[in-house]
Symmetry: D2
Subunit: 334 residues, 4 copies
């Protein structure tokens, strides 16, 4: 951490600050120039409160040098984390695709889609039981009943299931769910993250619409600090000024996160683009860029889907996308 002091600071206050910092076990190196004085702090600064320091009269700015995340930090855990879900592996060179409908609608719909995506090479089944919708007047999901249908589809197809939790009060329903998804809008629902950190189950953590990669890792850190090291990161598009796509897919997050963390990184091109016609090129691009997996929405009848029809692939389009993805995988940048 580096503290830049204001011009001509009160020397007594500088002395006081340095005493306070040394009291936290930190070493201090001073650099005094004509227009600025810099204090370099050496040691474990993760407990230092930048806001409090910045509030001091003599301080101009405080800059963090060390990453504020530890468990998720590749510096301290150089080897890739591999997540195992039944016989499926994700990360560390293992590529896996999660596919299924935006929302679970019925036994027939779900099992039909599940059979189709399995045949096309998907490793896990997704489907929303609890649906976060911008409008209170839109379909909110089958909820508990949706979880039941997912478990039936799991039984029928053998595919592990991934589904989203929206509130901790629903957690008791997720016992047999293989991977619990935390949606973009809940990426900083810290109470939920803490609770999920006590489970022994993979958590699929989606990046928030306006979250930096460092904030995504801090949210992963919440889960990992509780003891649960099984976190899958998911890039799903960020909010920008562009309106030609639903969100702006940030594929450079793949190499950026790869350097920052050992956790596996997957990409959701369906929510990112919001248009079925863009899913295949972005899926292939993500695979080529080195993603550890994909999450893709597939529906047997998109025009009558209860949500997100515009971005859902038909089973045929999904099979075509899988072929294209598998073709580039041997040449992916890892």
């Amino acid at each position: 951490m580096v503290i830049v002091l204001k011009q001509k600071p009160d020397e007594n206050k500088v002395e006081e600050l340095m005493k306070r910092l040394r009291g936290m076990g930190l070493d201090i190196h001073q650099s005094r120039g004509q227009n600025s004085t810099i204090l370099g702090l050496v040691g474990d600064t993760s407990a230092v409160d930048i806001d409090a320091l910045s509030a001091l009269e003599i301080v101009e700015t405080v800059k963090r040098i060390q990453e504020p995340y530890k468990n998720a930090n590749r510096k301290f855990h150089p080897a890739d984390t591999v997540i195992e879900v039944g016989s499926v592996k994700l990360g560390g060179g293992n590529f896996a695709v999660i596919a299924g409908p935006c929302s679970v609608e019925s036994h027939e719909q779900l099992c039909a889609v599940a059979a189709d995506v399995k045949a096309a090479g998907a490793a896990m089944l997704r489907g929303g039981a609890f649906k976060p919708r911008t409008s209170p007047y839109a379909f909110q999901g089958l909820r508990g009943e949706g979880i039941k249908l997912l478990l039936e589809a799991k039984k029928e197809t053998g595919l592990p299931i991934v589904t989203e939790i929206m509130d901790l009060s629903q957690l008791y329903l997720f016992d047999e769910v293989d991977v619990i998804q935390v949606g973009a809008r809940n990426m900083q629902n810290f109470e939920m993250l803490k609770e999920l950190g006590r489970l022994h189950k993979p958590i699929l953590l989606k990046r928030g619409l306006s979250s930096t990669l460092q904030e995504l890792l801090m949210s992963a850190e919440y889960i990992m600090a509780g003891g649960n090291q099984q976190v899958i990161l998911c890039e799903r598009g960020i909010r920008t000024f562009e309106t030609a796509t639903r969100n702006t897919l940030d594929l450079s997050a793949i190499p950026a996160l790869r350097a920052m963390t050992h956790l596996p990184i997957i990409v959701d091109p369906s929510h990112a683009t919001g248009h079925a016609s863009m899913v295949k090129p972005m899926a292939v691009a993500a695979a080529a860029a080195g993603a550890d997996g994909l999450m893709i929405e597939v529906h047997n009848d998109p025009a009558n889907a209860l949500c997100d029809g515009q971005q859902s692939l038909t089973p045929g389009q999904f099979a075509d996308t899988m072929q294209a993805v598998q073709a580039v995988l041997p040449f992916a940048c890892r």
Copy 2:
């Protein structure tokens, strides 16, 4: 709602679509040009799923004309909503300031600050018991104990209290809290919004970091659809590329929301700017632009605050800010 069809659409599919729309009770007006066909839908379109329509092969785009919010819509409720909290009124020409520390730290701290802000003209006391922090290693608030201290401060000063809920499991602690705050990160925590919609208590709803004004109103709509019409909207800065301020305060949200909704609108210049030195000018600007109130962080010792010290005013700075705000209030744009 307007549906733009693709060039030379399959006439059978157009017929089918029109039958489907008429089945929903809508009237349809067709405009056929050389390069485009437009279907204008007249009637209640709030239940129409734009995504599903957009997924149709023959559809190019769908544009919503009517606002998707009803309870919050000024068109249907022209008169300003006035929120009453004890003897305090907010909205409809009643201006009120909510002030207090970022987080509740102790009885002494809270009561000292409460007495100071009351003396300076604050109408309500804020203080965080449950604190959403980016880092799991940062101070997380006094939690239940913090609520107790707030209630003590309320008793001592008579100020109604405003404090944030982070998860529904905490709700039982909020019985005597006067106004429940939903933080920016929870603006789209829809399960929480639904539950708060069942209460008979004002909800202070903060705009999400990357939420449009329409999304803010849709979240208010979640609360109002449940029966609770007492929603206070709070602009607290949005996330942009600019780094000179913590967020970018969007004061044009005041006249924009004023036209869209009858709900009261307050502004939080502390979180928006992140710098104590910018709080006063932005507080005065917000008042001049016609805000119904302000929410300001005040701490007796910002340099030792357990959170957000950099943006907290001292009691003296707060009193100075209140004077400046009151000076412009008679000339505010309403």
Copy 3:
């Protein structure tokens, strides 16, 4: 174009408006509902001023349905445009890579890099003679001398050259330049675009830092309206809140633009990411997603480059990147 009228509009003013619109040769279809009246305009609306219409007292909003660009519009020119530069083809299935240093520094530097990138498979040489730098104290380019060095390198290697123009007063120096680049900061320098529209030479138009894809096409339209149909579009990252990368590369621009326009689309992963280590994965991803080409910065000694050293590949890294790109090209999404 669709005009939504306010509730209960003055009928005389509606009549007046309809007369004015019919006077512009437009057909009007009215849709009258209980809460809104919609006017659908059919015909050529490209000359209609949305701002003026929106200023009318009776108008609530105006929504454009037709794209405001014609020459660049795929609807009117379904076949891909192929740009020919000497023997090099770009677009319509022809993939080409433009590579070279950020700025031209010396004959030796440029010719060495040119030979290296040619050997690795680059089709054109890039190099900045006029350099747009945020700081007036930073190296501003060799200017006229830089153009001379580029022409020497072209003679030595046979590679066509691409270089940026910063002001029309420099245009006389660009006679023998093969492709003129318009930088991101000049994407809406409309006077320059008009003048370049009078040339018979390909223009490489970079997307502005905060420009929508539609605005990019409107800038291409400025060039094309003047008669010059040879425009290459370049996605180079947009500005967002994320700081882990210099900009946010928007690869979904490839399929989005592909549908909107017939012009070729290339990607610049160097400026987009700002980090040499991210160039290869993003180059490969862009190729996989169906880009028509790439623009990559290569320097023989990045640590001593006069600009953009951090994002420049060494010749060895570039050769490695080219191999990876060529491996995925056969499987690219087109």
Copy 4:
């Protein structure tokens, strides 16, 4: 400037780097911790190229501590700059309003509006002769003829005139123009800024749509480095995801810039909001927040304006706005 080295750097390379930095006249202070080594550079670092340093194998990140602007920096010029245009003063406590039509349309229109805004208290007349328009098919301004009409209006009313230059080739027409405006799209047209730096005439520099405040000051620095110290900064809204307003007006730029620079700061609420109904509240808010002036679009017949009708005030609305602004001025935060 602070250089953070990678873990366990090659000591020879560290030595080499330190020699290179000392060769630039810089002092170096080392802070060595277990996981990181920090080099603090003391001295004039404005010529140090961050990109080149960042490209070094041993370097993790480089952080600038000193501001990269000098002439515009309040640290080196504590007193406010006051711009004088004829008898009008702007800055240092002098508040001035610039008003007039978006584009100059005719002698009658311009002189009528000029007389009206003068009567209402405007100090200068604005009017566009050269118009930057997104579409090549939109009205592009009266150009040279427009400048003539502005000079006639200046003669008739005595108001100094402010108008925009779009290309250096137009400069010869600006001899009698009092203040030359650089539009948002040209904020980083560095060749133009350099040339304007050679004039002895105030330059009104508008913030780019996606420009940080530091970048705005670096553009001012381009002008000032050439010798022209008369720069007026103009906040006119930045581009964000919000669509309820044309741009997002960043009023916190006023206190932020006030601390960074001694240059005067004005606000353009017309372009920022894009809606006439929001101009008054934002004008009043800007004045209350301490702006040195305003720039407001006024048209005698907005519904028939050749551009920007939607955001133009009528003369009556402008007079009303001026009254409201003058009422809060005595209480403005300065």
